[in-house]
């Protein structure tokens, strides 16, 4: 047995004095090597142009399992014939002597060959039979040629199946040499040390194939966009609010925001309430009293909502429905610590007990920005929104009056196009909502103890929506949650919002 190197040497040597190897399989047999092994060598030599190899397909036959058995034990018809004694035998006794399948196939076949007769005992009709089928099967096994009719018959009896042999015909190639020095694929340290790199032949590089994938980890696309939004806020001088408190009391989430206790958003259909811990008991009591008063009777120029405000409602714990719950805590703290102008932002999770679909989840990320200062105007809000959104690439904004219990005025923010989101086709007159904004109501700010000339302008949007547009994702569950495709996390572009 030769190894691959030996086979290669023999093959190249043979071609030196012969024009062609017509059948690599026969050549392998003569060499005494496995054809599979030789095929590898042939492919390699072909690749480097030492030889020219052409595919030769040859169909041969192979015994099926059944065929293999008959080639050993004889065909079933002969087995049946042999089992019939000279004096005859009942069909049942004959059947008992043989395997079921041998009997059923063999008996039928022997009958149709007119080797046997039933009268009614089964008895031989001829003296002797020759097992032609067994011989044919052995011939197939040895690779001998059979007549087309014989092959057909065996095929019909499912005793043989075709087997495709792939072999090669070989001639000299353009780079033929009686021996080959192996072409290199890499520049190695050894080549540099021995300075052989200039003599070595390099295998041509396949530039059509992709390179090897990188090995590092990857950041989640939604959080890549979050990073960008954080940067924008930080560049614009905003300070981040601490939003790591998902459980919030209704008081801070709703009441402090002058959201009346019968407001539909406080319905169990919209808000997750908590069984444990079910309520909050400590509040700044004087502030709570002022909030109660503003709801019930008004004050600070407001008539209030004129209803019975209930502490129990305010105590109920919820999963915060907006990060504005944190803003209300921060503004209250600011009023207690002594007012200074602030720009605040946060990006974190909020929870809604709503039906989940392609664009809605029970939890999502809210982006919120607010500025708190004396003498802020609606014009300032429009100005800062234009600054903020133009950093996202949205140059053209429009504002629509809206309603929100804790902002007045309230403005929905519409953008004309998202050139940054890869769509440069200006669809004029096509306006899409991108967020909400407004000035916090005095009924929210004044009970906190903020000076009465302080205004707060604020806006919010979701993180998921722009991310879905940016990365072309149309089902939010493909982006956020455990059903995410890890391929998406590995394969997504850097976030170039506004660049």
């Amino acid at each position: 047995m030769r190894d691959a190197d030996g086979a290669e040497r023999a093959l190249l040597a043979f071609l030196e004095s012969n024009a062609e190897i017509s059948n690599s399989e026969a050549f392998a047999r003569d060499l005494g090597v496995d054809h599979e092994l030789l095929a590898g060598t042939i492919k390699s030599l072909h690749g480097f142009g030492f030889i020219e190899a052409k595919d030769v397909r040859r169909e041969s036959w192979e015994l099926t399992e059944e065929g293999l058995v008959y080639s050993r034990n004889g065909s079933p018809e002969v087995q049946v014939f042999d089992a019939v004694p000279a004096g005859g035998i009942s069909r049942e006794d004959l059947q008992r002597k043989l395997d079921d399948s041998v009997f059923s196939i063999g008996f039928r076949k022997a009958m149709s060959n007119k080797w046997l007769e039933t009268k009614p005992l089964v008895s031989r009709k001829v003296l002797k039979v020759e097992d032609v089928v067994k011989q044919q099967l052995l011939d197939v096994k040895d690779g001998k040629n059979l007549s087309a009719a014989d092959i057909d018959a065996l095929k019909k009896r499912k005793l043989i199946v075709p087997k495709v042999w792939k072999a090669y015909s070989i001639t000299k190639g353009a780079n033929y040499a009686p021996t080959r020095t192996k072409a290199a694929t890499e520049v190695t340290r050894e080549m540099l040390l021995k300075e052989t790199w200039s003599e070595v032949a390099f295998k041509p590089y396949n530039f059509q194939a992709l390179g090897q994938p990188t090995e590092g980890g990857h950041l989640h696309p939604l959080l890549k966009v979050r990073t960008k939004f954080r940067q924008i806020f930080l560049e614009m001088g905003f300070e981040e609010m601490p939003t790591n408190n998902f459980v919030e009391s209704s008081f801070w989430n709703f009441d402090a925001l002058f959201q009346p206790q019968q407001h539909p958003a406080r319905d169990s259909h919209d808000t997750f309430f908590l069984k444990s811990p079910c309520k909050t008991q400590t509040f700044p009591e004087d502030y709570l009293e002022r909030v109660k008063t503003i709801h019930e009777q008004g004050g600070f120029g407001s008539i209030g909502y004129m209803y019975d405000w209930k502490r129990e409602e305010a105590e109920k714990n919820v999963l915060r429905t907006h990060t504005t719950a944190v803003s209300s805590r921060m503004l209250y703290k600011l009023a207690q610590d002594g007012f200074v102008p602030k720009r605040y932002f946060s990006i974190d999770r909020v929870f809604r007990n709503e039906a989940v679909d392609r664009t809605h989840l029970a939890e999502f990320h809210q982006i919120e920005g607010l500025i708190c200062d004396k003498g802020l105007t609606l014009g300032d809000l429009i100005g800062v929104l234009n600054d903020f959104f133009s950093r996202l690439g949205m140059k053209k904004l429009r504002f629509k009056p809206a309603y929100n219990p804790y902002t007045e005025p309230s403005m929905e923010i519409f953008r004309q196009v998202y050139p940054l989101y890869g769509s440069y086709h200006e669809q004029l007159n096509k306006w899409v909502e991108v967020g909400n904004s407004g000035m916090f109501r005095p009924e929210m700010l004044l009970p906190m103890g903020l000076p009465d000339d302080v205004s707060v302008i604020a806006w919010g949007l979701s993180l998921e929506r722009p991310t879905m547009i940016l990365y072309g994702i149309d089902n939010i569950r493909d982006l956020f949650g455990h059903k995410v495709d890890l391929k998406l996390i590995k394969s997504n572009p850097i976030c170039r919002l506004g660049m």
Partner: protein
């Protein structure tokens, strides 16, 4: 936001000209309502019956579905929307709603019995006399009640409206509360008499009404309104009597609103009469009813008087940021249904009609000035607020660690805080000791039962959905879990955790151990600054798990995920995992 259907034809007639859809869309945008959908009556019916769209006729009447702000109850019907648009476009002047002048003696009375206090204490009433209905007006009258019931009335819990053909009744009326078995009448749309008790049973199978039964069901007495002949007008908030049912031919309508919230009852009544008094012989005139409370105090309702509010002009100008003149402001407000006049002291006095219950504070007036001026006409300015940017240290810290984990070859996942109890406990071989996890009381499904106490269930669910991803899989998450914490005002607190998982054909325990060492390295904790001690956590494999100790306390654990846990999450390959709190290292 509520949606109101208005026939396009009617809009064009009312507005005095034909608008293209784009033009109308633009008008809506400016005023703050929204053309949500364009359809036809037949299309709506086809949709209800799930018929094919191609059966449409050419000549179907086009209907605009218009979304209106949730606090503008006066825009909940076509009448109100048209009126606001006409006034905004200066086609119509603001109407003056007034009570008809009648001698006290001829004013109908509604006498409130003390028992109503326990179930539904308030009632207000009004009469629309000489009204002319047609098909469209009648439908709108019914629809407005439905929309009010859905919105401000909070599905009839706060207020319920009953409307009656006054000519079938005999005042004075009494508002009482009686045991259900003592109330007997033929309800609307029925032919036979029921006791209130029987009705509650009967309506349990009524798709529309069964939703309201809970409001009074458990009360020993039910609210009921009678006329002087003991005819039942209504069993609020469930159903009216058949006797006083209104029809297209009704000329005189009694409206009663029973309530648990008097303010809202007044708003609802005012909305009803303001919208439909326009169809009365004496336009915008409403006949009052005297409500006599249990101690004999008489309140004449509805109260259609104009509320006044004095607003500083400088407040309006400074808030909007546009130097408007007093005259301009008065003119702009008139487009928003608010009449006003300049008064001394750089102020205006604003007269708020009964339809504008949304005006609570001068800021609401200021907004109307801004809307009428046009938000998009206000010049952009930059706030002068000088501040510096600053990150939350915890978030900055988390972001730095996220980068380190990604550089260590792990990919980031982001899972939900809400998980099922099963995922948070049972599937992790754990039991809920009711001492660590915050529990949701009204989850829509079991997926939202509990706030995760570790990042493990989410990451295991990721692996469950990543069976086809080539191994090894290396993922991490840095997010918050929520734990009960009696030291906090709300009783629970977030805790920032770091978790990483390695999954392959072998468990890769050393890889996770190595990652832990790397994390400690980047946290600048020397090798002798932390210890790992064998542990016995139920979600981890025995002998291949340890707790991580830093400065004397446990900050997390790592180990091979227990095979039973892998099986529970249908994960075919072994996994190693580390999870730790990171706030201690900040």
């Amino acid at each position: 936001m509520p949606t109101v259907s208005v026939a396009r034809e009617l809009l064009h007639t009312m507005l005095g000209r034909v608008y293209t859809q784009e033009e109308f869309d633009e008008l809506c945008f400016v005023i703050g309502i929204e053309l949500d959908d364009v359809t036809t009556e037949k299309a709506i019916i086809r949709k209800e019956k799930h018929l094919q769209e191609n059966e449409a006729d050419e000549d179907e009447e086009v209907i605009y579905k218009i979304e209106v702000p949730a606090n503008r109850y006066d825009l909940l019907c076509p009448e109100g929307i048209c009126r606001q648009l006409r006034i905004f476009l200066r086609v119509e002047k603001m109407p003056t709603y007034r009570l008809s002048r009648l001698p006290d003696s001829s004013i109908l009375k509604m006498i409130v019995k003390p028992e109503t206090a326990v179930i539904r204490p308030f009632v207000v009433c009004a009469i629309l006399r000489g009204i002319t209905f047609d098909q469209a007006r009648y439908a709108s009258f019914i629809d407005l009640q439905d929309r009010l019931h859905q919105n401000i009335c909070r599905k009839r819990t706060l207020v319920a409206i009953g409307t009656h053909d006054l000519d079938t009744l005999q005042g004075p009326f009494t508002y009482e509360a009686l045991p259900p078995s003592e109330i007997k009448f033929i309800p609307l749309k029925q032919a036979q008499e029921f006791t209130a008790k029987e009705l509650m049973e009967f309506y349990k199978s009524d798709l529309k009404l069964k939703k309201f039964l809970h409001i009074i069901e458990d009360s020993p007495v039910f609210p009921v309104i009678y006329d002087s002949n003991r005819t039942v007008l209504s069993l609020p908030p469930i159903i009216n009597g058949a006797h006083s049912a209104i029809s297209l031919n009704t000329k005189n309508v009694l409206i009663e609103c029973t309530a648990t919230d008097l303010t809202k009852a007044k708003i609802v009544l005012n909305t009803m009469v303001a919208m439909f008094s326009g169809y009365c012989d004496e336009k915008f005139e409403v006949e009052p009813v005297d409500v006599v409370d249990p101690v004999g105090r008489v309140t004449r309702c509805p109260d259609l008087s104009l509320r006044t509010m004095d607003v500083d002009l400088s407040y309006i100008k400074k808030s909007i940021g546009v130097p408007l003149q007093a005259g301009e402001i008065v003119d702009l407000l008139s487009k928003m249904q608010l009449t006003s006049k300049e008064i001394d002291g750089d102020k205006i006095q604003v007269f708020i009609p009964p339809t504008r219950s949304d005006i609570l504070h001068p800021c609401d007036v200021m907004e109307d000035v801004a809307v009428a001026y046009g938000f998009n006409n206000i010049p952009k300015t930059r706030p002068k607020t000088s501040t510096e940017g600053r990150q939350q240290p915890l978030n900055e810290f988390s972001d730095l660690l996220r980068l380190e984990l990604a550089m260590a070859g792990f990919s980031e996942v982001l899972n939900w805080v809400l998980v099922s109890k099963k995922e948070n406990f049972t599937l992790l071989n754990r039991k809920d000791d009711e001492k660590i996890a915050a529990i949701v009381s009204n989850p829509r499904s079991s997926d939202f039962e509990v706030l995760r106490t570790s990042l493990l269930p989410g990451i295991l669910k990721v692996m469950e959905h990543s069976k086809d991803v080539p191994r090894p899989v290396k993922v991490f998450e840095i997010s918050d879990v929520v734990l009960l914490d009696p030291s906090k005002d709300v009783g629970a607190a977030n805790s920032r955790h770091l978790a990483a998982l390695y999954c392959s054909t072998t468990s890769g325990f050393e890889i996770i151990h190595g990652l832990l060492d790397r994390i400690m390295n980047v946290l600048n904790v020397p090798v002798d600054g932390y210890t790992v001690e064998p542990s016995n956590e139920p979600e981890l494999f025995k002998g291949r798990q340890a707790k991580i100790f830093y400065k004397g306390s446990c900050v997390g654990s790592f180990g091979i995920i227990h095979p039973q846990v892998l099986k529970n999450f249908d994960i075919p390959d072994p996994c190693s995992y580390v999870e730790m709190e990171i706030e201690r290292f900040l």
